[in-house]
Protein backbone atom coordinates (compact mmCIF):
# COMPACT_ATOMS: atom_id res chain seq x y z
CA UNK A 1 0.00 0.00 0.00
CA UNK A 2 2.97 2.29 0.39
CA UNK A 3 4.24 1.63 -3.11
CA UNK A 4 4.95 4.92 -4.85
CA UNK A 5 4.10 6.68 -1.62
CA UNK A 6 7.43 7.84 -0.26
CA UNK A 7 6.60 10.95 1.72
CA UNK A 8 7.45 11.10 5.37
CA UNK A 9 4.38 10.96 7.58
CA UNK A 10 6.29 12.21 10.61
CA UNK A 11 7.28 15.37 8.82
CA UNK A 12 3.86 16.16 7.43
CA UNK A 13 2.09 15.50 10.72
CA UNK A 14 0.20 18.57 11.86
CA UNK A 15 -0.88 18.86 15.49
CA UNK A 16 -4.52 19.54 16.25
CA UNK A 17 -5.21 23.05 17.52
CA UNK A 18 -6.82 21.80 20.71
CA UNK A 19 -4.05 19.52 21.94
CA UNK A 20 -3.10 19.89 25.55
CA UNK A 21 -5.12 21.20 28.47
CA UNK A 22 -7.21 24.34 27.99
CA UNK A 23 -5.64 27.57 29.24
CA UNK A 24 -7.50 29.51 31.97
CA UNK A 25 -8.65 32.00 29.31
CA UNK A 26 -10.05 29.21 27.17
CA UNK A 27 -11.94 27.83 30.17
CA UNK A 28 -13.30 31.30 30.93
CA UNK A 29 -14.32 31.83 27.30
CA UNK A 30 -16.14 28.49 27.19
CA UNK A 31 -17.95 29.20 30.46
CA UNK A 32 -19.11 32.65 29.31
CA UNK A 33 -19.99 31.40 25.84
CA UNK A 34 -22.17 28.65 27.34
CA UNK A 35 -23.82 30.95 29.86
CA UNK A 36 -24.65 33.63 27.27
CA UNK A 37 -26.41 31.02 25.18
CA UNK A 38 -28.14 29.24 28.10
CA UNK A 39 -29.50 32.49 29.49
CA UNK A 40 -30.65 33.61 26.07
CA UNK A 41 -28.49 36.77 26.04
CA UNK A 42 -26.85 35.80 22.75
CA UNK A 43 -27.49 32.97 20.35
CA UNK A 44 -24.73 30.70 19.05
CA UNK A 45 -25.47 32.09 15.62
CA UNK A 46 -24.98 35.70 16.75
CA UNK A 47 -21.64 34.83 18.34
CA UNK A 48 -20.44 33.01 15.23
CA UNK A 49 -21.54 35.87 13.00
CA UNK A 50 -19.65 38.42 15.08
CA UNK A 51 -16.46 36.32 15.08
CA UNK A 52 -16.82 35.87 11.35
CA UNK A 53 -17.31 39.60 10.85
CA UNK A 54 -13.97 40.39 12.48
CA UNK A 55 -12.11 37.42 10.97
CA UNK A 56 -13.02 38.52 7.48
CA UNK A 57 -11.99 42.16 7.82
CA UNK A 58 -9.02 42.97 5.62
CA UNK A 59 -7.04 46.08 4.68
CA UNK A 60 -9.38 46.43 1.68
CA UNK A 61 -11.81 48.10 4.07
CA UNK A 62 -9.25 50.75 5.05
CA UNK A 63 -8.27 51.16 1.39
CA UNK A 64 -11.87 51.99 0.50
CA UNK A 65 -11.91 54.72 3.15
CA UNK A 66 -8.60 56.17 1.93
CA UNK A 67 -9.77 56.27 -1.69
CA UNK A 68 -12.97 58.05 -0.65
CA UNK A 69 -10.95 60.64 1.26
CA UNK A 70 -8.75 61.24 -1.80
CA UNK A 71 -11.66 61.89 -4.16
CA UNK A 72 -13.93 63.76 -1.74
CA UNK A 73 -12.32 66.63 0.21
CA UNK A 74 -15.46 67.01 2.34
CA UNK A 75 -15.26 63.36 3.36
CA UNK A 76 -11.55 63.73 4.10
CA UNK A 77 -12.24 66.66 6.42
CA UNK A 78 -14.91 64.67 8.25
CA UNK A 79 -12.61 61.62 8.50
CA UNK A 80 -9.85 63.68 10.09
CA UNK A 81 -12.26 65.47 12.43
CA UNK A 82 -14.33 62.47 13.58
CA UNK A 83 -13.15 59.10 12.27
CA UNK A 84 -15.94 57.09 13.93
CA UNK A 85 -18.68 59.18 12.32
CA UNK A 86 -16.96 59.16 8.91
CA UNK A 87 -16.63 55.36 9.00
CA UNK A 88 -20.25 55.09 10.02
CA UNK A 89 -21.16 57.02 6.85
CA UNK A 90 -19.66 54.15 4.85
CA UNK A 91 -21.45 51.56 6.97
CA UNK A 92 -18.29 50.51 8.81
CA UNK A 93 -18.94 49.67 12.47
CA UNK A 94 -15.73 49.75 14.53
CA UNK A 95 -17.38 48.59 17.75
CA UNK A 96 -17.12 50.12 21.20
CA UNK A 97 -13.71 48.89 22.35
CA UNK A 98 -11.69 51.91 21.23
CA UNK A 99 -11.95 55.24 19.42
CA UNK A 100 -10.28 55.64 16.04
CA UNK A 101 -8.23 58.56 14.81
CA UNK A 102 -6.92 59.28 11.31
CA UNK A 103 -3.61 61.08 10.86
CA UNK A 104 -2.74 62.57 7.49
CA UNK A 105 0.56 62.28 5.69
CA UNK A 106 1.62 65.47 3.92
CA UNK A 107 4.76 66.60 2.10
CA UNK A 108 5.90 67.98 5.49
CA UNK A 109 4.87 65.22 7.94
CA UNK A 110 5.11 61.43 7.70
CA UNK A 111 3.17 59.47 10.33
CA UNK A 112 3.88 55.92 11.47
CA UNK A 113 1.94 53.84 14.01
CA UNK A 114 3.25 51.55 16.73
CA UNK A 115 2.10 50.25 20.10
CA UNK A 116 5.07 49.85 22.42
CA UNK A 117 3.01 48.43 25.31
CA UNK A 118 1.28 45.59 23.47
CA UNK A 119 0.10 45.55 19.90
CA UNK A 120 -2.95 47.81 19.65
CA UNK A 121 -4.02 47.94 16.01
CA UNK A 122 -7.06 49.28 14.11
CA UNK A 123 -8.46 45.77 13.51
CA UNK A 124 -11.93 47.07 12.71
CA UNK A 125 -10.50 48.76 9.62
CA UNK A 126 -7.40 46.73 8.67
CA UNK A 127 -8.16 43.23 9.99
CA UNK A 128 -5.56 41.34 11.96
CA UNK A 129 -2.08 42.86 12.19
CA UNK A 130 0.95 41.40 10.42
CA UNK A 131 3.24 39.33 12.68
CA UNK A 132 6.02 41.93 12.54
CA UNK A 133 3.73 44.61 13.97
CA UNK A 134 3.58 42.58 17.20
CA UNK A 135 7.30 41.82 17.29
CA UNK A 136 9.44 43.24 20.06
CA UNK A 137 11.88 44.53 17.42
CA UNK A 138 9.27 46.65 15.60
CA UNK A 139 7.71 47.90 18.82
CA UNK A 140 10.97 48.98 20.43
CA UNK A 141 12.89 50.19 17.39
CA UNK A 142 10.10 52.28 15.86
CA UNK A 143 10.17 54.69 18.78
CA UNK A 144 13.95 54.51 19.21
CA UNK A 145 15.15 54.78 15.61
CA UNK A 146 12.14 55.29 13.32
CA UNK A 147 14.07 56.34 10.24
CA UNK A 148 16.13 53.12 10.30
CA UNK A 149 12.95 51.02 10.61
CA UNK A 150 11.29 52.94 7.77
CA UNK A 151 14.39 52.47 5.59
CA UNK A 152 14.09 48.70 6.10
CA UNK A 153 10.61 48.98 4.57
CA UNK A 154 12.14 50.88 1.65
CA UNK A 155 10.93 54.23 2.94
CA UNK A 156 13.71 56.79 2.95
CA UNK A 157 12.52 60.26 3.87
CA UNK A 158 14.30 63.58 3.35
CA UNK A 159 15.50 65.44 6.44
CA UNK A 160 12.98 68.22 5.82
CA UNK A 161 10.11 65.74 6.30
CA UNK A 162 9.13 65.41 9.95
CA UNK A 163 8.77 61.80 11.09
CA UNK A 164 5.94 61.62 13.62
CA UNK A 165 5.68 58.31 15.46
CA UNK A 166 2.35 57.61 17.18
CA UNK A 167 2.59 55.29 20.16
CA UNK A 168 -1.00 54.11 20.67
CA UNK A 169 -0.72 53.47 24.38
CA UNK A 170 -4.28 54.26 25.40
CA UNK A 171 -7.85 54.33 24.10
CA UNK A 172 -7.27 55.42 20.50
CA UNK A 173 -6.43 53.33 17.46
CA UNK A 174 -4.63 55.16 14.69
CA UNK A 175 -4.76 54.85 10.94
CA UNK A 176 -2.56 56.77 8.52
CA UNK A 177 -4.13 58.53 5.55
CA UNK A 178 -1.34 58.10 2.98
CA UNK A 179 -0.63 60.71 0.30
CA UNK A 180 -2.26 60.05 -3.04
CA UNK A 181 0.42 59.00 -5.54
CA UNK A 182 1.19 61.32 -8.42
CA UNK A 183 -0.07 60.35 -11.84
CA UNK A 184 -3.39 59.04 -10.55
CA UNK A 185 -5.59 61.92 -11.71
CA UNK A 186 -8.79 60.69 -13.28
CA UNK A 187 -8.58 57.20 -11.79
CA UNK A 188 -11.82 55.76 -10.45
CA UNK A 189 -12.36 55.40 -6.72
CA UNK A 190 -12.17 51.60 -7.00
CA UNK A 191 -8.92 51.75 -8.97
CA UNK A 192 -7.47 54.14 -6.39
CA UNK A 193 -8.48 51.80 -3.56
CA UNK A 194 -6.57 48.98 -5.23
CA UNK A 195 -3.37 51.04 -4.93
CA UNK A 196 -3.67 51.42 -1.15
CA UNK A 197 -1.67 48.88 0.85
CA UNK A 198 -1.91 47.80 4.47
CA UNK A 199 1.60 49.06 5.23
CA UNK A 200 0.83 52.52 3.81
CA UNK A 201 -2.00 52.78 6.38
CA UNK A 202 0.37 51.74 9.20
CA UNK A 203 2.81 54.31 7.84
CA UNK A 204 5.79 52.07 7.16
CA UNK A 205 5.59 52.70 3.42
CA UNK A 206 4.54 55.44 1.04
CA UNK A 207 2.53 54.81 -2.12
CA UNK A 208 3.92 55.19 -5.60
CA UNK A 209 1.94 55.15 -8.83
CA UNK A 210 2.31 51.80 -10.57
Amino acid sequence: MHDGHDHDHDRTFQPDHDRGPATPYEVLERALHTLFIEKGILSAEEISRRIDEFDTRTPALGAKVVARAWVDPGYKARLLADTRAALDELGIDIGEIAEFKTVENTPEVHNVIVCTLCSCYPKGLLGFPPAWYKSLAYRSRTVRDPRAVLAEFGTVLADNVEVRVHDSTADLRYIVLPMRPEGTDGMSEDALASLVTRDSMIGTTVLKAE
Partner: protein, 101 residues
Protein backbone atom coordinates in the same frame (compact mmCIF):
# COMPACT_ATOMS: atom_id res chain seq x y z
CA UNK B 1 -19.42 56.23 25.47
CA UNK B 2 -21.47 58.24 27.93
CA UNK B 3 -19.58 58.94 31.11
CA UNK B 4 -21.27 59.86 34.36
CA UNK B 5 -18.28 61.58 35.91
CA UNK B 6 -15.06 62.94 34.53
CA UNK B 7 -12.18 64.68 36.26
CA UNK B 8 -11.81 68.36 35.26
CA UNK B 9 -9.36 68.99 32.43
CA UNK B 10 -6.18 70.61 33.63
CA UNK B 11 -4.43 71.16 30.30
CA UNK B 12 -5.12 72.57 26.84
CA UNK B 13 -3.42 72.34 23.46
CA UNK B 14 -0.02 74.06 23.54
CA UNK B 15 0.57 73.58 27.27
CA UNK B 16 4.01 72.33 28.27
CA UNK B 17 3.72 69.23 30.41
CA UNK B 18 6.06 66.87 32.21
CA UNK B 19 5.28 63.16 32.37
CA UNK B 20 5.73 61.93 35.93
CA UNK B 21 8.63 59.55 36.55
CA UNK B 22 7.08 57.67 39.45
CA UNK B 23 7.23 53.90 39.37
CA UNK B 24 4.13 51.79 38.87
CA UNK B 25 2.93 48.36 39.81
CA UNK B 26 0.49 46.40 37.72
CA UNK B 27 -1.41 47.64 34.70
CA UNK B 28 -0.22 51.03 33.48
CA UNK B 29 -0.36 52.78 30.10
CA UNK B 30 2.57 55.16 30.58
CA UNK B 31 5.66 53.47 29.11
CA UNK B 32 8.81 53.90 31.20
CA UNK B 33 10.80 55.39 28.31
CA UNK B 34 8.74 58.61 28.42
CA UNK B 35 8.60 59.04 32.21
CA UNK B 36 10.31 62.20 33.38
CA UNK B 37 10.21 63.66 29.84
CA UNK B 38 8.72 67.02 28.90
CA UNK B 39 6.53 67.76 25.89
CA UNK B 40 3.65 69.82 24.55
CA UNK B 41 -0.04 68.94 24.53
CA UNK B 42 -0.81 68.40 20.82
CA UNK B 43 -4.42 67.30 21.27
CA UNK B 44 -7.07 66.89 23.94
CA UNK B 45 -8.67 63.50 23.21
CA UNK B 46 -11.52 63.51 25.74
CA UNK B 47 -12.13 61.58 28.96
CA UNK B 48 -11.87 57.82 29.24
CA UNK B 49 -12.42 55.35 32.06
CA UNK B 50 -9.05 55.01 33.75
CA UNK B 51 -7.28 51.78 32.65
CA UNK B 52 -5.24 51.54 35.86
CA UNK B 53 -8.55 50.92 37.70
CA UNK B 54 -10.49 49.20 34.90
CA UNK B 55 -7.82 46.51 34.67
CA UNK B 56 -8.75 45.43 38.19
CA UNK B 57 -12.52 45.27 37.59
CA UNK B 58 -13.15 48.74 39.01
CA UNK B 59 -15.34 51.21 37.09
CA UNK B 60 -12.44 53.51 36.27
CA UNK B 61 -14.47 56.57 37.28
CA UNK B 62 -14.12 59.46 37.39
CA UNK B 63 -13.02 59.21 33.78
CA UNK B 64 -9.61 60.74 33.19
CA UNK B 65 -8.76 63.25 30.46
CA UNK B 66 -6.44 61.82 27.84
CA UNK B 67 -3.95 63.97 25.93
CA UNK B 68 -1.63 63.46 22.98
CA UNK B 69 1.73 64.67 24.25
CA UNK B 70 4.30 65.57 21.57
CA UNK B 71 7.91 64.88 22.52
CA UNK B 72 11.00 65.83 20.54
CA UNK B 73 12.93 62.71 19.54
CA UNK B 74 16.27 64.39 20.18
CA UNK B 75 15.18 65.13 23.76
CA UNK B 76 13.85 61.61 24.25
CA UNK B 77 17.07 59.95 23.06
CA UNK B 78 20.47 61.57 23.65
CA UNK B 79 21.99 60.01 20.56
CA UNK B 80 19.02 60.51 18.21
CA UNK B 81 20.54 60.89 14.77
CA UNK B 82 17.54 62.21 12.83
CA UNK B 83 16.45 65.83 12.30
CA UNK B 84 15.37 68.00 15.25
CA UNK B 85 11.86 68.18 13.76
CA UNK B 86 11.15 64.46 14.37
CA UNK B 87 8.62 63.77 17.13
CA UNK B 88 6.92 61.07 19.14
CA UNK B 89 3.20 61.55 19.78
CA UNK B 90 2.00 59.53 22.75
CA UNK B 91 -1.35 59.36 24.55
CA UNK B 92 -1.04 60.00 28.30
CA UNK B 93 -3.74 60.15 31.00
CA UNK B 94 -3.96 63.27 33.14
CA UNK B 95 -2.86 61.66 36.46
CA UNK B 96 0.58 61.21 34.89
CA UNK B 97 0.97 64.86 33.82
CA UNK B 98 2.09 67.98 35.63
CA UNK B 99 2.67 71.52 34.32
CA UNK B 100 6.18 72.25 32.99
CA UNK B 101 7.93 75.51 32.11
Amino acid sequence: MKLETAAPMRFKVGDHVRIDDRSSLGHCRTPSFVRGKTGVVAEVLGAFRYPEKLAYHRPGLPAQPLYTVRLRQNELWEDYAGPASDHLDIDIYQPWLEPAE
